[in-house]
Symmetry: C2
Subunit: 133 residues, 2 copies
DNA sequence: GTTATTATTGATAATAGTTATCGTTCTTGG
DNA sequence: CCAAGAACGATAACTATTATCAATAATAAC
């Protein structure tokens, strides 16, 4: 159904080649740096099309939408408020409990998003070092 | 520290009087309907100030920020994709597991957001009725 | 209790992220 | 080859939010 044009292929490749959680702006810059000149509207449309086709997956983080590869198993995210890095995790017990809660509320769950905010290990180390000096 | 002006008091009252998850636009309309004429910038600034003071709490849902009372215990949300309603729930096991995951990753958690997406009981009932007719 | 200082307000301009418009280009089937 | 539809790029428009700035209100200093 979806037409995989050269532009969309470039977007898809870029996303598939890394574990990043891309937003449209960063992706545009990366594509430009890689030699692809793709209009920003085409990038937004491409992302939407690729998401609908299930070729990539999307999440809302704060005020912008992020896209990542869809060829990995479901997972949730640890978001560092200091460096902005995003770490992934999966916990079957949490998944189970969510299904349980949904059924309790007679709620037909078709997705979820769990973000854990805080400070990542890296940044914790740095802040300790910084305080010592 | 925060100055509770008449405008901010009106915003706070409006939020405290209901269990809604307000966005700035809806809140502005409600305040206007209630006879308060408060500039939209003042509403945004007031919301930020009240949030920083801990008098209300905020969450990101999709592309807009929502505010709700802070005088209730922590909870997460079931978001209906059909009618937009937001139901609240709390599950200690999920909370515990999150703390566990964070410590596993040496991640200093200082908050989280869990959104369960799907269709609420009300909308499920309606869709069944609709299909029968 | 006037004056100086500081914070807040409202109108509006500006910004960020995203979507819509529109004329042009690229496919693809007949 | 050519018509129909999809996608493209440039850019205008839109939504949510923040910044600017002059006017006003509250607070503190004398």
């Amino acid at each position: 159904m979806i037409k995989l044009t050269a532009q969309r292929q470039a977007i898809l490749d870029m996303i598939n080649q890394s574990n990043q959680h891309w937003d449209a702006e960063i992706l545009a810059r990366a594509l430009s740096d890689a030699g692809h000149s793709i209009g920003i509207a085409t990038i937004y449309r491409g992302l939407t099309a690729l998401e609908q086709a299930g070729l990539i997956q999307a999440m809302h983080l704060g005020d912008k939408k992020r896209y990542e590869r869809s060829d990995k198993a479901h997972h949730d995210h640890l978001v560092c408020g200091s460096c902005g890095s995003i770490e992934e995790f999966f916990d079957e017990q949490i998944e189970q409990r969510q299904r349980h809660v949904a059924s309790q509320y007679h709620f037909q769950m078709n997705g979820h998003q769990l973000l854990i905010f805080g400070i990542c290990q890296q940044c914790l180390k740095l802040s300790v070092k910084g305080e010592q000096s």
